[in-house]
Each structure stands twice: as C-alpha cells, then as structure tokens.
C-alpha cells in the first residue's frame, strides 16, 4: 500500500489543489443571501419577497403554526413539506427577472406569496 502514503510534499500539493478548486468554485465560497419568512395563521410574512435577479438565494421558512404546511411553487420548482413549529431551508436557483408565485398547498386560500426577482 505504498501508494496510499501521504508524504509532506503530497500534503502541500493537495493543499494547493484544494485551494485552487475553492478559488475556481466561487459559488461554494460565497454563501447566498438568506431571507427569513414565517408562516403564521396560514399566511406568509413577508408575502412579497424581493431577490436580486441572476443570483442564488436561500429562504429560511419558519412554520409557526402547529399544522404542517407544504411550500409549493411550480415556477420556483420547489415542493417542500414544513412540519408544524419547525423551519426549512429552501434554495432558490438564480432567477431571471420576473414574478414567481408560491403558496402553502394545504391552506391555499390564505397562504399565498410571490418572489420578485429584479
């Protein structure tokens, strides 16, 4: 198993490689902006979410109702169940400018919102 031995020189080489990879992948280095959203009484607050166009964003959706909800949006390609009194992290892909409606599928009459990318 001589191949498996990692000498100090190899270590340096690996470190250089890892650094190069990290520099080459700014998406990993850059944490996308996180936006807080709450669900209370089957409504989203804020119900209108503004995000920069062309950049990934993260929504942290806290469900403060005891009832389970499903964050659902065909436009955003998101379908995520959020159990009562928990939160979920929802990754938004880089969006082109426009309006992207979303809803709480289990309470669609009140739980409505829109992401606006601009």
């Amino acid at each position: 198993m001589r191949m498996m031995c990692v000498t100090p020189r190899h270590e340096a080489a690996i470190a250089t490689l890892v650094t190069a990879l990290c520099l080459g992948l700014p998406a990993i280095a850059d944490e996308p902006a996180a936006i807080n959203v709450t669900i209370k009484d089957h409504r989203f607050t804020p119900s209108e979410i503004h995000v920069p166009a062309g950049k990934p964003t993260v929504l942290i959706v806290r469900n403060q109702d005891p009832a389970v909800e499903e964050f659902d949006s065909t436009a955003l390609k998101v379908e995520k169940v959020i159990v009562g009194d928990t939160y979920a992290t929802i990754r938004l892909r880089p969006l082109g400018p426009g309006r992207y409606p979303f809803m709480g599928e289990y309470h669609a009459d009140t739980a409505q919102g829109v992401v606006i990318a601009e």
Partner: protein, 274 residues
Amino acid sequence: MLATLLIVFREVFEAGLIVGIVLSATRGMARRGLWVAYGVTAGVAGACLVAMFAGEIASWFEGAGQELFNAAILLLAVVMLSWHNAWMASHGRAMAREISQVGAAVIAGERPPAALAIVCGVAVLREGSEVVLFLYGIAASGSGSAAGMIAGGVLGVLAGVAVSAVMYGGLLTVPVRHLFAVTSTLITLLAAGLAAQAIAFIQQAGYAEGMEGTVWDTSWLLSDDSLMGRLLHTLIGYTAQPSWAQLAVYLLTIGMILGLMQLVATRQGEVVHE
C-alpha cells in the same frame, strides 16, 4: 370540505393515472391485479410512514433529506419502468401474438409484473403522503368538521378513481397488436418525466448546480397548476418552465430506454436466428 375534496381528488388522480398505465401495460399477464394491489397497498402504508416521519426525513442530509428521498424513489420508479420496457422488448411481441390467439386470456407462467408493482407503490406513496399530511393537519388544527373532512376525502377518492378509470378505459380500446407500441411509448415518456422531476429535486437539494436556466415558458398557454397541465405533467412530464438540466435528463432517459430496448430486441433476434 371542498378543499379536502380538491386535494384528495388531485393526488388520487395523479397516482391513478400511473396505476392505469401500469394496468394497461400488463394486460394479459398472470396475476397482475394482485401485484398492482400489493403495490397500491404498500404505497398507502408507505405514505402513512412518510407522513409520520416527515420531520425526521426532512432533517436528513443537513435539511435536504426530503428532496433526496423524493429523488431516490422517483429514480427507483425510472429504473423499474426502464426494466419493464426492456423486458417487454424481448417478450412483448410474442405475448401480444399469444393474447390475440387466446382472446386476451391470461398467459400462464409469465414473470409477474413485480417491477411495475413497485412503480404503483411509488406513485401512491408520493401522492398519498401529501394527502395524509394534509388530512392530519386539518384534524390536528380542529378546523372544519370531521364529517366534512371524511365526506370530502371519500368524494375525492371516488372522483380521482373515476377519472383514472376513464383513462384506463381509453387505453383498453387500443387494439392488442398496437398495445405494445402504445404502452412502451407511454412508459418511456412517464419514466423521462419522473427522471426530470428527480433532477429538479436533486438541484433543489443543492447537489447538482448549473443548467438551471429556463428553456422556455409556456405558462401563458398551459400552466402546471391547471388540470390539463397536471395531467400532462404526470403522463409525459410536462412543465411550463423546464430547466436545461430537466430537458437534458428527459432526453437522456428517453435515449437510454430506447437504446436498451433496441439492444435487448437485437439480442433476442440473434438468439432466434441461430
């Protein structure tokens, strides 16, 4: 009650479409009804389990558990559908001939359609877990009467089964000599659509970034949320705003299944001629 009816109807109808395709694709196979029943029953049990442990599943993989779980079971269905089509490519023609000869009687001794039973199970599990969570939510919050919920649920199931049955009835009118071609096409498109949904879940989980731009937007023409949009979404994977990754996976899946069927059929031909 109306909200319950609509949600239950929608989910039952979506799972029912897939079960309908499976039933028509297994026409003439021994004990297919029993296998489909196993699949549906396992799906219902699985749906209850998934709903019960929804919070637990969501916490796997640093919060991406739900997406990866969905992607995994969708891909399982894709593999099973591909396998079925490959198997049909080697046995289907002979079977169709036999069915015509014996007047659609059951062919004894054929391999049971276990792969497609799993597909039924996956379809019911996916749609069913949403129904269970929804009904549980209503029951837990105490909004709406229990009678209304039960009435809505029962009517939703009946309406969903009725619409699926109509579609299955339509497939039954396909003459046996075209059945193989029709069901192979349906299953190929169904598998491609499920694979495209799976890649969306994987991307949502943050495991495969890139190619996320929208290829086209036909939401003005046919939105995903309309009944026709949902029907086509379930059957052929229609989506109004597909991403490049979804389109690529969709086409790759079709190519893979057709290639596999070609390969199996060619091999079968060689064996016969030797």
